[in-house]
Symmetry: C2
Subunit: 221 residues, 2 copies
DNA sequence: AGTCAAGTCGAACGAGGGTTTGAAACACCC
DNA sequence: GGGTGTTTCAAACCCTCGTTCGACTTGACT
């Protein structure tokens, strides 16, 4: 959409390869928004962190809200694509009817894999989670109405659990999603305090297994 | 804490019975914050909705943030008190070692009962949920460090599940809490769209049972 | 009636915010 | 090398917001 402005026209999904300033703004904004919250970050904060001029945000993105929305669209698209890919592969492995456990893995693994401390997109995951509660009206409109991606998962779960009413599936899917959305830095901090340091957020592999175990049991109950 | 300012000194927890203006501000602010988000509501919005003068917020509460914090403290205290009461009753019924299901009921039922559309505190629940992601630094400090209330539940669960490592309990408690925090109006809207209107948020009794069933299965897995 | 503290009111202050502007710098092509 | 379109820059604009101020009203007590 905004690519018509950038001369190199890389036509790619890689933000860092765009016009240098635009990419720097994108990256700095995502980081600050994810760490500090949307309303707590000013355009001046972003441009200062990116080392570019104040007017860059409005020139390259139109407005602060449009910048936010563009980050949101790109990151959610990437996440949904990865989830759909995993679900599709699981479907292929099981003649179109994957078991609950693999459906949940397709739902949980992408955001959790990205949450690895060594991973670049750790910040993207926090951004997406934040968008869910602090997003602008435009973002919330998308989140509320665009459920096509979730429908694939709901349908797969309905097929995997034929004895369960569809209404039940929807509610349990809602619960499972809540488990993901709660994976904010602040919540990990609290858990760390509560458990006296026993829980280690860094071991995302173990966390993924725990989440799948918990949710699978809930679905099979 | 702020009672020293109100002449009638009702010494109660009922906000509406304070000095008329202060109570009106409290109620209007809670409602607006819960519905619109903390940063999207100005002091002018609050005082206009309450039908009082602009300066009332600073006169009665000190600052906008202090008003937010006072609402937060009162509502979380009420919620924690109710949860502790239910946990205590369950403990009495089972010689100090209540089963998982009753512990979860003590955790889930208070906020869900208050979420009933007919209930006054429906708005308070949404306020508390919002505080978790959009709260001020002071609120997040409390949420991060004051885990004494959760510890009671963690201990009860550890006692109820002696074969499970404490680390596992903490993680599963984290998941269960995520299920609650996801009960925002916006999330219910999305679920409603996804299920084509099958799911009914209004039936909180059925929702409570579904949540307990799901979480109990996860703990017993 | 007089006094004093508490509360209310309209008005203004000052800071911080997003956005706009117009000129300068740059890159590219004929 | 001139011309053209794009990008960068410093500065300013303009609005909203939280807060404060000083005067006025109210009510209780002496």
């Amino acid at each position: 959409m905004t690519d018509s402005l950038s001369p190199p026209e890389d036509a790619g999904v890689d933000p860092e390869r765009e016009a240098a300033t635009k990419g720097a703004v994108f990256v700095a904004a995502e980081r600050l928004f994810a760490l500090e919250g949307f309303q707590n970050v000013s355009v001046r904060d972003i441009t200062a962190a990116a080392g570019v001029n104040l007017a860059s945000v409005n020139y390259h993105f139109g407005s602060k809200d449009a910048l936010l929305f563009e980050i949101f669209r790109r990151r959610t698209a990437e996440l949904n694509r990865e989830r759909a890919r995993m679900l599709h592969m699981a479907s292929d492995r099981h003649d179109g009817r994957p078991p609950v456990r693999e459906i949940l893995a397709a739902l949980f693994e992408p955001p959790l894999r990205w949450s690895n401390p060594a991973h670049d997109r750790r910040i993207s995951v926090q951004f997406i989670i934040r968008a869910r509660s602090e997003g602008t009206e435009a973002m919330r409109e998308v989140l509320r109405t665009d459920v096509s991606h979730l429908r694939r998962f709901a349908d797969a779960l309905i097929a995997a659990l034929p004895s369960l009413a569809a209404e039940e599936i929807y509610w349990r899917l809602h619960f499972a999603l809540g488990m993901i959305h709660n994976n904010r830095f602040a919540e990990f901090d609290r858990l760390h305090v509560l458990s006296d340091g026993v829980t280690r957020e860094s071991d995302v592999g173990a966390l993924l297994k725990r989440m799948i175990d918990f949710a699978e049991a809930g679905f099979l109950a």
